[in-house]
């Protein structure tokens, strides 16, 4: 199980490193897309291990454990956001936060159809 966590940690650190490097490269002092890179590295590592027959259920269990913790972590994150400020920082925050989301909900079926047929 620890090998699975180690693979996850390796993918995570490598991805974050790439994100920071990309951030420096485009002149923004932050991590650009590190999580996305890490996910792709993890998926590629898994595919590579599966092809070689190294990928045991035990490995997947170590990663899956952390994946299942995602929702509880999101709950903890929601509880430690500045929700009060988001509510009191005016009607603009609510309008600009909500209206484009509903526009996207309206657009999504058309986008989905267009991408499916193309």
């Amino acid at each position: 199980m620890i090998y699975g966590i180690a693979i996850l940690a390796f993918s995570f650190l490598l991805g974050q490193w790439m994100g920071v490097l990309l951030g420096h490269w485009i002149g923004i002092d932050s991590n650009v897309g590190g999580v996305g890179f890490a996910m792709i590295i993890l998926i590629l590592t898994k595919e590579g291990f599966q092809r070689k027959g190294w990928f045991k259920p035990e490995l997947e269990y170590g990663v899956d454990f952390w994946g299942k913790l995602y929702i509880p972590v999101v709950v903890a994150m929601a509880a430690s956001l500045n929700v009060k400020a988001a509510i009191t920082s005016g009607s603009l925050a609510i309008a600009a936060g909500a209206i484009p989301v509903f526009i996207c909900f309206a657009v999504f079926p058309y986008l989905n159809k267009a991408l499916k047929t193309s």
């Binding site: 996305g36 995602y70 509880p72 509880a79 956001l81 400020a85 909900f105 989905n112």
Partner: protein, 252 residues
């Protein structure tokens, strides 16, 4: 009693596991008994988390919701960047590279479309609320994309701190809106497959909102939505302070 407080104080993260576990348990009961499983337990749990964040803000008087109250400081650690990023990367283990390659182009199209819609609508609403300065408008538009893109753009362009705070507020409202309405509207908008989840993640952007909303819709879709959504913030941090700002500066 002082011994118990000492234990709680020393093991903050463990306390957070207990608190979040209880929140998840009661949310599941509320989902089954009151909403007959129509609104999933995870959505209720995240909403409960936000309510706790509000209550924590009222009683703690800080900016970090519940985690400003000393007894619950571990909740902030559990919900912090390290665990959030590590667990979200772990969800990718169930994704297949073949499918991601298949909808790569669709993902890119929805990413750009999503950023453009959120930015334009955000800027227009900022304009309607009386803001005219291009730096301020760009920061508000970037905040409408996500609460990460907003402050990064604002800092890059030198926006004032209250505008940066406002942009975070806008992004948080967006995340909450996406979280709550994704499971409610999923069926109606045809969000039911891996491919559609990837387009959805690109269009909506906010990783936490998309992932939480999809988890409440169908946990199998989470990694597909999340993998495109994580690029949304990266791409947004790239083009909001540069291309979008230059276009807006030229227009205003």
């Amino acid at each position: 009693m002082s011994e118990l407080i000492q234990v709680i104080d020393s093991y903050g993260l463990i306390v957070a596991f207990l608190v979040v576990g209880l929140v998840m348990y009661f949310s599941e009961i509320i989902s089954k008994k009151i909403f007959r499983s129509k609104i999933p337990g995870s959505a209720i749990a995240i909403f409960a988390g936000l309510v706790l964040g509000y209550i924590g803000g009222v009683f703690g008087g800080g900016e970090k919701g519940l985690s400003d109250i000393p007894v619950f400081k571990g909740v902030g650690f559990m919900g912090g960047g390290m665990f959030r990023d590590f667990t979200i990367v772990a969800t990718a283990i169930s994704a297949s590279f073949f499918l991601i390659k298949k909808s790569g182009l669709a993902g890119m199209i929805s990413l750009f479309l999503g950023l453009i819609i959120f930015f334009i609508v955000g800027v227009s609403l900022g304009w309607a609320w009386g803001f005219r300065d291009p730096v301020t408008l760009t920061t508000i538009g970037a905040g409408a994309c996500t609460y990460i893109i907003g402050p990064i753009t604002g800092a890059a362009l030198g926006a004032s701190s209250d505008i940066i705070a406002l942009s975070i507020g806008i992004g948080v409202v967006k995340t909450i809106t996406v979280t709550i309405f994704t499971p409610i509207l999923a069926k109606r908008i045809g969000l039911n497959s891996e491919g559609s989840a990837m387009s959805y993640g690109g269009l909506m952007g906010t990783t936490s909102g998309v992932a939480a909303g999809l988890a409440a819709t169908d946990p199998k879709l989470v990694p597909y939505g999340a993998v495109t959504a994580t690029f949304y913030s990266g791409l947004g941090c790239l083009i909001c302070p540069s291309v979008f700002y230059l276009i807006l500066d030229w227009l205003v």
